[in-house]
């Protein structure tokens, strides 16, 4: 019974922690969502211990705790894959930004060269008095 109590407290602490992070805007909803779901599942499993046993019997796992481990690993996998996908997207955006920054920089250089009084000189220092 104390084991269930432990799981219950753990789930509640996790939920509170997620809520607090969200409240302080340290965590965005799309990432917090999954963790909240995980904490809720643990909470439900802790309150109704029979549920885990019933479910593990249903899928054919002899020891209920193995089902818990399996689901835990599965959810970690899902989170990792989601993060990889997000990272790929961010890399792509990052690349586009770098390209645009380079293109704009060249444009600024050209405009500066066109505006500069003494033509195509290399005076990058001749700025402030203009």
């Amino acid at each position: 019974m104390s084991g269930h109590l432990f799981a219950l407290v753990g789930a509640l602490v996790t939920l509170a922690f997620m809520f607090e992070l969200l409240r302080r805007r340290r965590l965005r909803e799309k990432y917090a969502g999954l963790w909240i779901v995980v904490a809720l599942v643990v909470l439900v499993a802790a309150v109704f211990p029979g549920l885990t046993e019933w479910l593990s019997e249903l899928v054919g796992i002899t020891t209920p705790i193995n089902l818990v481990f399996f689901l835990g690993l599965l959810s970690l996998l899902v989170v990792c894959v989601q993060l990889s996908a997000e990272l790929g997207e961010i890399e792509h955006e990052n690349q586009t930004l770098a390209e645009q920054a380079a293109l704009l920089r060249l444009r600024v250089e050209r405009l500066e060269a066109a505006v500069a009084p003494d033509g195509p000189g290399e005076d990058a220092t001749a700025g402030p008095d203009a």
Partner: protein
């Protein structure tokens, strides 16, 4: 707009993706100037640490300075975007390390009248470039599969010496693959999937004028594995078709 020069707009842009090539760049640019008087030249500094951009600027060519290293694919996509923005219908990629002979560029440009992508191939009879071991096998496998995909005979699919015509420039400005080997292998898959015609011509490949090539058996094996993975992924990837409006930049 910026009416600086009244010379007729050059129609071919030579793009040199350069990563820490400050030693070899002056020689390559001098050769380009000597043999290709009419072309536009753009150096894309791919996050170098050795002042490549400054060297290029001091030599009077346009420089796109990427804030950090994006790889050849990213550098080339920036180059294609620049070409599209500036109205160059044709782009020829030349490596900044001096391996590509600028005198081959006119032959590539000439073939762009018939094809959208022209590859300067190293194993097509000219020159004496040799690759061995796993790297060679990888090149053969890639050449075999990509020849089928592009329905033309290609022998050197990883060559960085290539030209792109108007349709290819438009496509690549938007979708040039930036991942590892994407600039060579995947870009060919992308081009043929979008109905572009690809061909190759033989070119001679020279020794690097500076710096050191990175090759070892281990690296070659990793190259083999990654090349095959890149090929398989690009072949099964969902098709991306573009419309002309989509390709406009900035």
């Amino acid at each position: 707009m910026s009416a600086v020069s009244d010379a007729p707009e050059p129609r071919v842009l030579v793009v040199l993706p350069a990563w820490n090539e400050s030693e070899s760049l002056p020689g390559v640019l001098a050769e380009i100037r000597e043999h290709l008087p009419g072309v536009g030249v753009l150096v894309v500094d791919d996050g170098s640490h050795d002042g490549t951009a400054a060297v290029a600027r001091s030599l009077g060519v346009d420089v796109l300075e990427l804030p950090f290293n994006l790889g050849v694919g990213g550098a080339m996509r920036a180059g294609f975007r620049y070409a599209l923005e500036q109205g160059y219908p044709m782009v020829v990629q030349v490596d900044a390390d001096g391996q590509h002979d600028p005198r081959d560029v006119p032959r590539i440009v000439e073939r762009l009248a018939h094809s959208d992508v022209v590859i300067g191939a190293r194993f097509a009879g000219t020159g004496s470039y040799e690759a061995r071991g796993p790297r060679r096998w990888a090149m053969n496998v890639l050449a075999g599969v990509l020849s089928r995909v592009a329905s033309t005979r290609l022998t050197d699919t990883t060559s960085g010496f290539r030209g792109a015509g108007p349709r290819a420039v438009e496509l690549f400005a938007r979708h040039y693959p930036a991942e590892y080997l994407g600039d060579t292998v995947e870009s060919l898959v992308l081009a043929s999937r979008n109905g572009l015609r690809i061909e190759q011509i033989g070119v001679s490949m020279r020794e690097r004028s500076a710096g050191r090539p990175s090759q070892s058996p281990l690296k070659a094996s990793v190259y083999l594995a990654r090349a095959c993975l890149a090929l398989v992924i690009s072949l099964v990837r969902r098709r991306e078709r573009i419309t002309p409006q989509e390709a406009t930049v900035v």
